[in-house]
Amino acid sequence: MHVLTDNFELYVQGFLGTVQLTVYASLLALVLGFLMASFRVAPVGSFRVFGTVWVNVLRNTPLTLLFFAVLLGLPRFGVVLPFQLFAVLTLGCYTSAFICEALRSGINTVPKGQGEAARSLGMTFGQTLGTVVLPQAFRSVIPPIGSTLIALAKNSAIAGAFSVTELLGTYKPLNEMGYNIIWTFVWIAVGYLIITLSISALFNVLEKRYGVAR
C-alpha cells in the first residue's frame, strides 16, 4: 500500500499522461478515421484507393514498428517534435484505420433505400448525409468505436516504453527506488483498469441511449 501513498504524485502524473495521450490520440483518430471513411465511400476512384491503402497498411502494421519508425525515424528528416506529440500522432494514425473501418461498416448498414428516398424528396447531399445516413450509422457504430478506443488506451502503454510520460513508465523509477515491484505493478494495473473500464462504461451508456434495439 505504501508504494502508492509514498509516490502518489508519480502515479498521478503517469495516470494523467496516459489519459492525456488517450484523449488527444482519440480525437485525432476520430477525425482522421472519419476523413478516411469518407475517402473509402467516395465516388472518385483515387480517393477510394488512397483510403484503402491507408487502412490496409496501418491495420497490418505492428504498432511497435510504427513507433520505432516515427519516434526514431522522423528526426532524421529534421522533423523534431516533443515525444508526447510524436506518440499522439502515431497512436492517432494507427487507430484511425480501425475507426475508419468501423465507420464504413456503419454506413454500409444503412439500407440504400434510405438514401434514395431522401434524394427523391429533394434533399441535397448534405441533408441526406446529416439527417438521414449519419444518424442511422451512428447507432450501429457505438460498440466498435468503443472497443477501438479502449484498444487505443491500452496501446498507449507502448508509448511509455519509448520514454513518454505515461502510467506504465512509472515502474522504472519506482523499481530503482527499491519499492516492492509486484505492488508497483498492481497499482499500475489498477490505473489501467480505471481508464479502460470507464471508457467501456461511457460507451455502454451511449449504446443504451442511442443504440439500435437488437
Binding site: 497490418n60 502494421t61 491500452k154 506504465l168
Partner: protein
C-alpha cells in the same frame, strides 16, 4: 434495371445516386486532380529521402553481407517462433476459459469470467513487463506468456460467442437424442462454432503476430531487435531509414497475408453447407466491449 445494365457495376448507394454524365465528368476531373496531388506527395517524400542521403551505397551495403542477412533471418525466425508458441497456447487457454465461462457450475463460471475480463482490460504490454521485470522470466517465455494471457482471453470470448450463435434447435435436438452435456458440446456445438468463428480466430492471430513485436521492448532478439542492431551501427553510417524500408514490408506483408487468409476463409465458410445453422463471423478481431 436498365440503368444497372447500362452502367455495369455502377449502383446507387445510400450516399450517392448513379452518376449522370455531368457528375461523371466532374468525378473524372476530381480523380485526375487528386491523383496528381497524391503522386506529388509521394514524389516529395522520395525527394526528402534522396535529399537526406538515404540511398547512398554506404547505408545499403550492410544488406549484402551474409552475417547481416543471417542476423535478420534469425530475428525473423525468433518472431515466428514466438508467434507459433503464443498462438497455439492462446487457443488452448481460450478453449479452457470458454469452457469455464459456459460451465454449469457457478463458481467456475465466475472465476473464468473474472479472468477473461481482467486480462482483456489490461494492456498486453503491462502483463509482459510484469512477467519480465517482476517475475524475472526470460524474454521469450515472458513474451509468449503475456501474449497467451491476452489473446487467450479474447479467443475465449470468440469461442463463447460462436457456441452461443449456433441455432438453438441444434442443441435441443442433440439433447432430445439423449446426448450428454459434454457430448452435445464436443460433437454438435463446438464443431459448428469453430467453423463459424474461424475468420475471427485467424484475425485474432494477426493481432498476436503484430504483438510479437512487443518483444523488442523487453530485449527479445526478434526481427525489430535485429533491425535496431543494424540501424545503430556507425560503420554503416546509421542506416535507420533503409532498415525500416527493409523490415516494414516484410512485417506488413506477413500480417496482410494472414488477414487475407482470414477473409478468404470467411468467404469459403459462408458458402459451405456445414455452416447452415450458424452465422459466420466477419474476418475481424473480436470487438465486444468489456464488462458485458
Amino acid at each position: 434495371m436498365t440503368a444497372h445494365a447500362l452502367h455495369g457495376d455502377q449502383e446507387s448507394t445510400a450516399l450517392y445516386d448513379v452518376p449522370g454524365p455531368n457528375a461523371l465528368r466532374r468525378h473524372f476531373l476530381y480523380g485526375i486532380v487528386s491523383t496528381v496531388v497524391i503522386l506529388g506527395l509521394l514524389a516529395w517524400i522520395l525527394y526528402l529521402l534522396f535529399d537526406t542521403h538515404q540511398f547512398t551505397a554506404a547505408k545499403w551495403r550492410p544488406f549484402v553481407y551474409e552475417g547481416i542477412q543471417e542476423l535478420l533471418l534469425k530475428g525473423l525466425g525468433n518472431t515466428l517462433r514466438a508467434f507459433v508458441y503464443a498462438s497455439v497456447l492462446s487457443m488452448v487457454l481460450g478453449a479452457v476459459l470458454a469452457t469455464g465461462r459456459l460451465s454449469a457450475h457457478r463458481p467456475v463460471r465466475w472465476a473464468a469470467t473474472l479472468c477473461v475480463e481482467f486480462f482483456r482490460a489490461m494492456p498486453v504490454l503491462v502483463m509482459i513487463f510484469f512477467i519480465f521485470v517482476a517475475l524475472k522470466v526470460q524474454p521469450l517465455p515472458a513474451l509468449v506468456a503475456g501474449l497467451t494471457l491476452y489473446n487467450g482471453s479474447v479467443l475465449a470470448e470468440v469461442f463463447r460467442t460462436g457456441i452461443n450463435s449456433v441455432e438453438r434447435g441444434q442443441r435441443e435436438a442433440a439433447y432430445a437424442l439423449g446426448m450428454r452435456k459434454t457430448q452435445v458440446m464436443t460433437f454438435v456445438l463446438a464443431p459448428q462454432a469453430v467453423r463459424a468463428m474461424l475468420p475471427a480466430i485467424i484475425s485474432q492471430l494477426v493481432v498476436a503476430l503484430k504483438d510479437t513485436s512487443l518483444g523488442f521492448l523487453i530485449t527479445y532478439e526478434e526481427f525489430l531487435h535485429a533491425g535496431k542492431l543494424i540501424a545503430s551501427n556507425l560503420d554503416y553510417d546509421l542506416p535507420f531509414i533503409p532498415v525500416v524500408m527493409v523490415i516494414s514490408p516484410i512485417y506488413i506483408g506477413m500480417c496482410m497475408l494472414l488477414s487475407w487468409f482470414a477473409t478468404w476463409v470467411a468467404r469459403r465458410e459462408r458458402r459451405s453447407p456445414k455452416t447452415k445453422a450458424v452465422e459466420v463471423a466477419p474476418a475481424e478481431p473480436g470487438t465486444v466491449l468489456p464488462g458485458r
